[in-house]
């Protein structure tokens, strides 16, 4: 850790960043706060409403359902992506020409625009023209994600696993590569089993990157919008309407600015709160 010197002039160095981010964050956030306490019927006429929208949102079954769906979705993809990512990282070659090949191919889904991901999975999973849809139906299972909620969930989750597991793989792999060879040698001499090596060497050393991976996956999956929107449009019905999709429906679809703004703030606060809880829990675990 570097010993830092006190220097108030450092503010000049961070000023540009503060200016740009504040412009992008504070003004819109103020707009949102402003809307969230007012009612409008168009023509730029606003009425003070106080916390009415907040109460309404917090008590609305529609919001509860969307939040529940969101939590379920995030929970499921974390439970799949983290163990799967770690497992793939553990079996990846540590050196040799295949490393580059693996890394490049695995990183590929991360660099595809999100609506292309949605569109790609749409044509991949459609029961009449898609490879996946045809295969599942060919196995005798009735599968049509545009009509069956279960199939829609299955497809959305599979798509997210496809899209983001590589991030966990890359992070876990980076953590594994930083373990000195001597640890493995010592474990061999100590007669440790493969499980013990994982449990007592690899897992503890990956902890920091895994914390970051879980945090990033949690945040990003909680904000997910484009991919499911393109894939299922939130349907069938409201089956895959997650928080962001619902929010955009209210804000841009119905132009209910007040409720949308209140929901935005609640939504943002939930992410901040949960991230903070995650972070402190994992850090406390570290300190012990």
């Amino acid at each position: 850790m570097i010993e830092k010197t006190v220097n108030q002039k450092a503010w000049f160095l961070v000023a540009p960043v503060v200016a740009v981010v504040a412009f992008n964050a504070l003004i819109p956030l103020m707009t949102v706060v402003n809307y969230s306490v007012q009612e409008t019927f168009g023509n730029n006429v606003f009425f003070w409403e106080g916390v009415k929208w907040f109460e309404e949102i917090l008590h609305s079954p529609r919001f509860h359902d969307a939040l529940l769906r969101q939590m379920l979705f995030t929970g499921i993809i974390l439970l799949i992506e983290v163990p799967l990512g770690v497992a793939v990282a553990l079996t990846m070659p540590r050196r040799g020409p295949w490393v580059s090949v693996c890394l490049v191919l695995m990183a590929l889904p991360l660099l595809i625009p999100w609506n292309v991901v949605g569109a790609m999975w749409n044509i991949f999973a459609l029961p009449d023209i898609g490879l996946l849809g045809k295969m599942i139906n060919g196995m005798g299972i009735d599968y049509n994600f545009t009509q069956q909620p279960v199939a829609a969930w299955f497809t959305t989750i599979l798509m997210d696993v496809w899209h983001w597991t590589s991030l966990v793989v890359l992070l876990a792999y980076a953590g594994l590569c930083s373990i000195p060879e001597a640890y493995y040698q010592a474990a061999r001499i100590d007669g440790a089993s493969a499980w013990a090596v994982f449990r007592y060497i690899q897992l503890p050393k990956m902890k920091r990157v895994l914390t970051i991976a879980i945090l990033l996956r949690f945040m990003d999956s909680f904000m997910i919008y484009t991919e499911p929107f393109v894939l299922t449009g939130g349907g069938p019905g409201n089956a895959t309407t997650f928080l962001s999709i619902d929010l955009v429906k209210i804000a841009l679809g119905q132009f209910d600015l007040g409720p949308a703004a209140a929901m935005s703030l609640i939504y943002f606060l939930i992410i901040l709160l949960l991230s903070w809880i995650f972070y402190t829990l994992m850090m406390r675990n570290e300190a012990q």
Binding site: T5, N24, N115, L132, V169, L170, Y267
Partner: protein
Amino acid sequence: MKNFKWLSPTLYILFLMLPIYWLVSMSFKTTNEILGSFTLWPQEFTLSNYITIFTDPTWYNGYFNSLTYVMVNTLFSVSVALPAAYAFSRYRFLGDKHLFFWLLTNRMAPPAVFALPFFQLYSAIGLFDTPVAVALAHCLFNIPLAVWILEGFMSGVPKELDETAYVDGYGFWHFFVKIFLPTIAAGIGVVMFFCFMFSWVELLLAKTLTSVAAKPIAATMTRTASTSGYELGLLAAAGTLTIIPGAFVIWFVRNHIAKGFALGRV
């Protein structure tokens, strides 16, 4: 057991490649073939979808628009993040920790929350439907990320480097550009990769802030798909073309990617 270790990454990569293969193969099919019969690879191989894209300005302009705002954003984010990351890694100043945390919270802001206010903000200052608007808007999450990663890299550079340079009579900016930046070149590369990546893949804001003139390629794609119904071959070809810049960028950073992930705390 050990000899079957390659199986797991191989299966995983196979799983990753399947949808991409389907997209690419569809881009070489005719609409008739896509809708009429189910074929594993193109029976009547055609380039007509690509020809359409490369000859129709509403299509290929989308590429220029996307690449323009992605590059403007990457260069801008990195150049303002560099001095800030230096300040965070070297100095303590009033409110530094809070500021750092506040920057990071912006990475947690759902773009959906900002879509409407951004639309109004950028309309009000007359930047709506320009690549600059999108480039600026993407700074919301790219600058915090860039500061975060760069701070990690810079903390790994011993402070003696700075002190030696100052003793040797270098001024701050001279030292920063001539000595410091070259030593963290790898870090800058990694950061540019991430800025490129997140700006390239984000669409909600990009779509909200543009209508005609600056529309990104990926948005052109969705709109075409919804208006002209089942031009799936065209859609697949456009999708395939959006994968190429990403693949290109990964190929360049392939040797640094694992290291970058480890060093720079992303």
